[in-house]
């Protein structure tokens, strides 16, 4: 059924349709509306056979999820940014134990400095924790990926993180097609655990594993993610058969057939990129042969699919809302691994950190530059070099130069008067 609702509400309703049994969460912007929505549905009785727990920290949230999932209940939680970091020990524990928990990460920057706006640093900081990581481009995809996530997690016995841009998607009202309970039931069977705490068949879960077996256990986690490379596209096909739309999969391309320049990105910025690509392909705008590769599954990283998508292009530009401090791009580094030996020219653009808007205007200028081969290997989009250099000079001048963030804010002046 078509609805005009907030992205968070769409996710809440989708999760509710998946017949979750235990939901536990701790509030953090910008995930709050998701959990509030589900909480209300449980309390009012609309969502039955579901325990909703208000926990005392994100670490507790993931821990409650571990206990619940190990006892055989379909379990869900949501977090972002600092909250994800606070639960990291438990995040690794969950994947190490092979528990099919589904978690929404409403992507938000990590402090210091504290910042509540969108970028991908939170999820990507956990790219090696063993969870499957899926990135949604629209609210439709966000809600649909949650439905796929439960099935994927339970088939593989591996937890799944569904990532959606905080505020940009979570707090945006847009049209979505909400599935029916019948459709979801047809797609998602009840949870059949591979391991469960059951008095009838006692097992010990979580024993120490020494050097004799640790490598094998860890390899098996990697092997499961390799299985996911096959399962994710299959899941998308099954989904299309039941729900009638193409959602999910490892990657998708746009205008790629004859593209000489390929733009690679994840999440909601793909929408803006596609609008720019359409405009730049117009003859009156230069008729640029430019295409897009959207990565949906970041973990497992689809090396083969990425290489395939970039096979015929001359150059690629990775536009990412993340920064590996000390080296450059995170997504870019993963992409480069896929295209080793292909002789392609690659560019990394770090953009949108901490919620800085990525505008059509800036992208047009950027794509223009890259198609002329005039871009540096690493670019920070719309960076105010004046402010940066002023601060570097300040630090050179005196030892007690003061907190960086506060100095820069003072240089920028009143923020309220700006639109973007």
């Amino acid at each position: 059924m078509l609805k005009q609702i907030e992205g968070s509400r769409a996710v809440a309703e989708a999760v509710a349709l998946c017949r979750p049994e235990v939901i536990c969460a701790y509030p953090i912007s910008p995930q709050t509306h998701i959990v509030e929505g589900i909480g209300e549905m449980v309390k009012s009785g609309e969502l039955k056979d579901c325990e909703f727990l208000n926990v005392e920290s994100e670490f507790a949230a993931m821990s409650v999820a571990i206990g619940s999932s190990a006892t055989g209940a379909r379990t869900y939680t949501a977090t972002a940014s600092q909250g994800l970091l606070f639960m990291v020990e438990a995040v690794f524990n969950a994947s190490g134990l092979g528990l099919p928990i589904v978690m929404t990460v409403a992507n938000r920057a990590i402090g210091a400095p504290i910042n509540i706006w969108n970028d991908h640093s939170d999820s990507l900081s956990q790219r090696d924790c063993g969870w499957i990581q899926l990135f949604a481009e629209t609210n439709q995809e966000a809600l649909d990926l949650h439905i796929q996530a439960f099935k994927l997690a339970e088939e593989l016995s591996l937890p799944v993180m569904v990532c959606m841009d905080g505020f940009i998607l979570t707090h945006a009202y847009e049209r979505v097609d909400m599935p029916t309970q019948e459709q979801v039931d047809a797609f998602l069977p009840p949870y059949e655990p591979r391991q469960v705490l059951d008095p009838a068949q006692p097992v010990s879960i979580g024993a120490m594993v020494g050097p004799e077996a640790f490598m094998e256990v860890r390899y098996l986690a990697h092997a499961k993610q390799m299985q996911a490379l096959d399962l994710i596209p299959k899941m998308a096909e099954e989904f299309r058969a039941v729900f009638g739309r193409p959602i999910g999969g490892l990657t998708h391309t746009y205008c790629a057939e004859d593209a000489e320049t390929m733009i690679i990105a994840m999440g909601s910025v793909l929408g803006t990129i596609k609008d720019v690509v359409d405009e730049m392909r117009q003859p009156e705008n230069g008729g640029h042969k430019i295409g897009v590769l959207g990565i949906t599954s970041f973990r497992p990283f689809p090396l083969v699919a990425v290489a395939e998508a970039l096979r015929n292009c001359k150059r690629f530009l990775v536009l990412e809302k993340s920064l590996a401090v000390g080296i450059g791009g995170i997504v870019a580094t993963n992409v480069r691994m896929a295209v080793t030996g292909m002789g392609l020219k690659g560019y990394t653009v770090i953009a949108g950190l901490g919620g800085r808007s990525i505008t059509k205007k800036s992208l047009q200028a950027l794509f223009d530059k890259v198609s002329r081969g005039e871009l540096e290997p690493l670019t920070f989009l719309d960076l105010d070099w004046q402010v940066v250099n002023k601060h570097l000079e300040r630090e050179r001048q005196r030892r007690r130069s003061g907190p960086v963030a506060e100095n820069i804010l003072r240089d920028l002046g009143v923020v309220a008067s700006k639109i973007a």
Binding site: L2, Q4, E6, S29, P30, I116, W117, T138, F167, I168, H171, A172, Y173, E174, R175, S268, V269, L270, G271, T272, K274, D275, G355, S357, I358, T359, K360, K361, A416, S417, K418, I419, A420
Partner: protein, 198 residues
Amino acid sequence: MFQVRIHGRGGQGVVTAAEMLSIAAFDEGRFAQAFPSFGSERTGAPVVAFCRIADKEIRLREPIMEPDALIIQDPTLLHQVDVFAGLKKDGYILINTNKSFEELGLGDFVRDWPHDRLCTVSATDLSRKHVGRPMPNVPLLGGFAAVSGVIRLESVIMAINDKFSGKVAAGNIAGATEAYETVRAAMAAACREESTHA
């Protein structure tokens, strides 16, 4: 694509206004996207919200840099925030006020502006009258429907019923309707005036 930017202060329902606008457009079978310029909740601070309306899927995610219409819920922002930034030539300007554009110090700004693109609504007064609270967002939507014709009043009413219920919904509908009719009347009067001067 039609792009509306709404300016106000926290607590004046700016975000709800954008959402209702998007719901109204949805009710007319169109695609719409509404989102706030995000921030921690804080009453009284300047807030901006955006709404895009189109006939096909909206992929664009940037803030509205070049609005086709501006709705200004709080005139104290006029000389504090650059509310007019990027406004398209001859774009719609709606302001919640019982003053005129001249009295607000905007005389020079709108000197050559087509009059049928400018609109004032005493939205705060209307909401106090019909809902008992100074919440100008809904009457302004009624005014917007009237001045722009981008959405119908019926759709605004459907959006009100989506967000509110009972007496509050009824009051809001009354407020929006009165704003709509007042603006329509003012436009008709201006039209007659122009044609007699022509």
